[in-house]
């Protein structure tokens, strides 16, 4: 358990599907307490990268260290979660037939021995569940079935499932997808608050959102890390513009500068040419 050095480090990670290299000899690392954004055009390998970090996909080559644990790339998902990694999926992955409170209770019990699950939550766990419900703004929804929540509330509930486990590293795959403007703002604040206490990696398409909340941005392209830097550096970088323009140049022009963040279509492009 070292407390210095990156929380997560990947070296030479390669993943191929049917001969196509989704991740190509990738080096990547996230520092402790860092809030990092990951962007990249569709097919850049962002989700596959998260799959590797969480043990969902085992890379063909390469090494992953997580919080002092070597060979993390060979561990199954539940072991990595036990070690302190948590992941939000793209579409809300919650338990629809359970209530909001039961969802959180299921998440917080993850380190209890199986026999302990036949008995009720401890007081500390119960307090944490209540506290988390107010953090994600669902305290009045405690007894409601998760399947009947609105899309935005489901996204928050999933973030709550992860928060209640107090992970060291939180991976968020497009947390604001399909949200209204107000929901996006709340989510942004939530992400910022979460990031004060742990490392967070956010995969996001929405450049307006990235611009508002990002400290460091990594750009993934064709399975390789194209560049890393502040949002301004990234948006000015000719390679980044090339990558995005090469794919969606036509869609750029008609984008309005006002309220660009409202339109889901504005997602895949950085906006330097429209904003400046």
């Amino acid at each position: 358990m070292q407390s210095t050095g990156p929380i997560l480090e990947l070296k030479g990670v390669t993943v191929s599907f049917d001969g196509f290299r989704v991740l190509d000899d990738l080096d990547f690392s996230i520092g402790r307490g860092e809030l990092r954004f990951l962007i990249g055009p569709n097919g850049a390998g962002k989700t596959t990268l998260l799959d590797c970090m969480t043990g969902r996909t085992h890379p063909d080559r390469g090494q992953i260290w997580f919080d002092g644990l070597a060979n993390a790339q060979r561990r199954p998902e539940h072991v990595l979660v036990q070690r302190g990694i948590a992941r939000k999926f793209q579409t809300p992955a919650i338990f629809n037939s359970l209530t909001v409170a039961e969802n959180l209770e299921t998440a917080i019990s993850f380190r209890d021995p199986t026999a302990r699950l036949l008995r009720p939550l401890s007081t500390i766990q119960q307090e944490r569940v209540v506290a988390t419900m107010s953090t994600i703004g669902l305290e009045r929804r405690a007894g409601i079935r998760a399947g009947t929540l609105s899309h935005g509330e489901q996204q928050w509930l999933e973030i709550g499932l992860l928060l209640v486990q107090d992970p060291k590293l939180l991976l968020l795959d497009e947390p604001i997808a399909g949200m209204t403007r107000r929901e996006r703002d709340r989510t942004g604040e939530l992400v910022q608050a979460i990031a004060r206490e742990r490392s967070v990696l956010v995969v996001e398409h929405d450049m307006e959102f990235v611009r508002r909340y990002a400290a460091t941005v990594s750009v993934l392209h064709a399975g390789k890390l194209l560049m890393e830097g502040s949002i301004d550096q990234v948006q000015r970088d000719p390679r980044v513009i090339q990558v995005y323009l090469g794919r969606a140049a036509v869609a750029t022009k008609p984008q309005s500068t006002v309220g660009g963040s409202l339109q889901p279509q504005s997602t895949t492009l950085p906006a330097p040419y429209t904003r400046r």
């Binding site: 919650i94 299921t106 209890d112 036949l118 009720p120 499932l161 486990q165």
Partner: protein
Amino acid sequence: MISSSRARSAWYWATVAIVTGLLLLAPLVLPSFRLNLLGRFLAYAIVAIALDLIWGYAGLLSLGHGLFFGLGAYAMAMYLKLASSNELPDFMTWSGRDTLPLFWLPFRSPVFAIGAALVVPALLAAILGYLVFRSRIQGVYFSIITQALTLIVSILFIGQQSLTGGTNGITDLSKIFGLPRTAARVQTGLYLATVVCLLGVYLLCRWIVSSRFGRLLVAMRDNEARVRMLGYNPVVLKTLVFALSAAIAGLAGALFVPQVGIISPSALGVVPSVEIVIWVAVGGRGLLVGAVLGALLVNWGKTVFSESFPNIWNYGYGALLIATVVLFPEGLTGFLIRLPAWWQQRTHRADPESRMHNVELVATPDSSEM
């Protein structure tokens, strides 16, 4: 809120106590033939609970519970056969054996036999479950594999005439614990034991499904990838609950055999496995009481109708399953639970003001989206 939930819980426990009391008093009222029939149905209710535990909660539709029931029944029948014969079991002599096979020896002990009735199904389920769940085989493929295993084992039992009694099974089970099996006193005792076991199994499963473990079962049914990504190993959890369910089914089989006095491969085959599914579907899965009611009602209906219309009963059985799936997908209990809400909705719908109110409710999220 608190007082109303406390009142509801008081009502619940009162109902459980009354039903148990009535079942325990039934021997005073019912003629022995009817009592024996009820005892069998209660044994069926135990298997139904076992299936509901994994199907209704964990979403694992096992088409192999007839097998686990049958294995429990065979284990008990082996003890009963040895207790009833002075020498070698008759079917072994007929097939030309002159010594008892080694694996039959410990079944002289009733304790061993009852233990085996629980452990053998549990072990088989654990091995099969572990292999299947580890390969992430789900849904209908799991059902097919359990059905295939059932078929294989029943064919095996038919083929091994000298060890299992073959197609005829194990018959002439005349003694249990040194007493004549068919004596009214013994049958009443077996009936009461079945009632007690049913209550015990029901309370155990209720405890499980209302605990955090039970919610985890539902969570796996809803979204297994999420369960895994919350740090649980679904392979272990599913194997555990599948094995427990198989053990309960084995217990039911062990209670069933001494009340019937015969076990044959037809009782552990594919057809009884599907019948168990029908009971649970008709009663309403996802509710333990539903499984019990389903087993009792369907079997009671089967008895009544097969006495009057022996030729067409099987078609009625099929029609019942189809009708349940199409008309009442949540079964009888699911339908009864929904009835008040449905009625309320119906009476509300007649009222135009409440309809407008509903439209507004639907429109609100859309307008904030704009």
